[in-house]
Every structure is written in C-alpha cells, then in structure tokens.
Symmetry: C2
Subunit: 218 residues, 2 copies
C-alpha cells in the first residue's frame, strides 16, 4: 500500500520537527477559529487575506506527496500529521491527543466555533468523526486494529462547544473483526455513545504488529 | 434558543457579504491544505507563521459571539457560515454545497489532504461527518427536519481523497422522527452508506416551517 512510509530521522531531529509542526498547526488553528467569528470590515478582510495568501505561497515552495500518509520512524514513533482528528500539523484536527490505559483510551479536548452544527452545539458529524477515531484507537490499543467497517452513533443530548471528554474501549474480537464502543461527555454528563466494528484489511494481516498499528488511523 | 438570530440585511449588501465570506474562507482552506503537505525548512515555516499570526490578529480586531450560530435574513436567506460541513466562512468545511431535487439532495465535492485518515483515503469519521449533514439536509428538503438522533455508517470500501458524490433522501416519518438514508461514492462506485433518525426537538415544534429549517443544521 502506498502512503505507508518508513523513515530514519535521528530522534533529536524528529523531536525538533514535531515542535515545528505543532507550532504551525496551532497558528493555523487560531486563524481558522478567527475566520469563523470575525466581524471586521472589508478593508481588514482584504488585509488579512494578503497575509494568508502570502503564507500559503511560502508553504507551497516545497511540498511532499498529494497527502501526508503514515510515516513510521526507525525509533518507533509514528508521524500521522495529516490525520483529520489527531494530526498535529492538520489544522482541521483539534488535534485530539489520546492517553492509553490498560483497558481503554481517553482524551480531554476543547472544540471551538469551527466545529459548530446547531447554534452553540458541536456538529453531530464532528461527534461521529471524533468517536470513529476514539474507537479505532481503542482497537489499536488492545492490539486488534482495523479499518472502520460499521459505525453507529446514538445522540443523547446536544453537545455544547467547549470542553469535552471522550473514551473508547475494545469489547471483543471475532476473527479479523474488533468490536469497540465509546462515549463523549461533558461535566454535565453523557452526550453521545458509539459502537463500531473494525476490520483488519486482508493486505495487513501478514504485517508485524508495529506496522498493523497504522491500520487504526481510520 | 440562543444562537438563532434574525437579521435585516439589504439583499444587495448580503450578496456582497457572501462574496467576501467565500473569499476569506477559500483563502484559509488553501492555507490549511498547504500546511498539511508542506516540506519547507524552518526559516520558511517561521516566515509563514508571522503572516498567519498577523492575519489572525487582524481578524480578531472585531468579532461576533462565541460561535456563529444560525442567522435568518428577512429576505429568506439563511447564513450558516460556521457550519462544519456547509459553512462558506468555516475553513474546516469543504464546503459542501447541496442541490435539492424533489425527492433527494446531492452534491459533488473534492476532499484534499486535510481530510485524510488511512494513507490516501478519506478519514472514516469525515465520511460520517458529511453523511450526517447530507441526511439532515434530506430531511429538511422533505419538510421534516430534525436533530440527529441515531446515525449508522456502513463502509463498503476505502474512499480515496479527491472527487466524490453524496446523495441523501427521506425514507419515511413517524411522528417527530424522520428516517433518512444516503450514500457517498466515486466514479468507481459506492464507498459508504448511511442511515439516520432525525428528531424534531420539543422547543422547535411550535415554530413556523422557515425557522424549523435551521434545525436540520445538525
């Protein structure tokens, strides 16, 4: 499969690159939020656009492939910077940073105005987006990764923009299928629940475990 | 409900504002994609960041509320610029522009590197995000809007980044529940299917139809 790339970046250099990636990702995230809620006049909009287009031109001076892909470094670290949920250099991603426990994964995150659906609430599809990644990571964490086969979300109440907690766990496996579930909640309680079936693709079944892990980046 | 705002913007002025919103939204979209796939050195990254932060500072000179909300104009047009799928001024949104037919809604869209999950493929959660909006809009289009209650996605094969077509239709209603379904496909065939149940919230049941429409912005 193309897009699965092996690299040999010295550990110290990779740490430095991660810092730079996080910085530019965070800068663009702030710009994205400001773009949604700005109320400046046309002159200011035009001035801002000149800066934005100048930045794009600089970043396009040299680029990688059509998309970022998954990059496995020789020191064991995985770069998934283009991932729409976790990618530190993807301004669309909050990014969600997961913590692995023996039997589940979890994260606390903050969603700003760019994730809105109904007024003041997180878009129902954004909830599905994040829960898909949570469940996929729970399967990876339990050593049973796969690509999403089926995903079901049950919305219990509107999820306000702001601070949220997500959790996911692997419930069981059947052959190459992993069954995972998870929740998204605020301090006021449960907002949505998810169940998913993740399937190890045929081409990945012969790979060693460290390479299979990338399969979970659904 | 707060965030549902009625405005009286003269038609010509609103048309002009829409043009400006689309321009700045598109500029930031290009920047987002460039950020994901750039391969420039640290000096260029720093130079780009100076422009990005300058643009953010300009846009933050004056801002609206914590989020954009839904703004109904007296000429019948709805501004949902903050919507994570459709919002023209939300750089996270592709944005998806829907076409309404008598019995279904559809759109053709292009997804760039910022929507990646597995290498070269659309993130499974992004597929759920877009299908949630498609199904919600199908319910609105059929005069039976609601907030997402349950959403189920079945992934048939990996969806490549690039050009896609989405479709959604209302299958039936039961009281305040609307049952909708939809698909996402490429020229090579079906990639994923969705079913959803959309529920008209209690507070919206007394509103006239034009205001209920905003309920579909799931």
């Amino acid at each position: 499969m193309s897009g699965y790339i092996t690299e040999e970046i010295p550990a110290e250099e990779l740490t430095r690159q991660i810092e730079r990636a996080r910085e530019i990702g965070d800068s663009v995230r702030s710009l994205v939020a400001a773009t949604v809620v700005t109320d400046v006049d046309d002159d200011d909009l035009a001035e801002a656009r000149r800066h934005i287009d100048a930045a794009t031109e600089i970043l396009e001076r040299r680029r990688i492939d059509a998309s970022f892909g998954l990059r496995f470094n020789s020191d064991g670290r995985l770069r998934n910077w283009g991932n729409a949920v976790e990618g530190i250099r993807n301004p669309i991603a909050p990014p969600v940073e997961f913590h692995a426990e023996p039997d589940h994964v979890w994260s606390e995150l903050h969603l700003g105005p760019q994730y809105e659906g109904p007024p003041g609430l997180v878009h129902g599809g954004v909830i599905a987006l994040i829960l898909d990644q949570v469940l996929g990571n729970a399967a990876v964490n339990a050593g049973a990764p796969g690509m999403t086969g089926t995903l079901t979300i049950r919305y219990r109440k509107g999820t306000p923009l702001g601070s949220l907690r997500v959790e996911g766990r692997l419930d069981r496996t059947e052959g190459h299928k992993s069954f995972a579930s998870g929740t998204i909640s605020t301090a006021d309680g449960l907002c949505a629940e998810a169940e998913g079936i993740f399937i190890m693709p045929r081409w990945a079944r012969g790979l060693d475990a460290s390479r299979q892990m990338g399969v979970g980046d659904a």
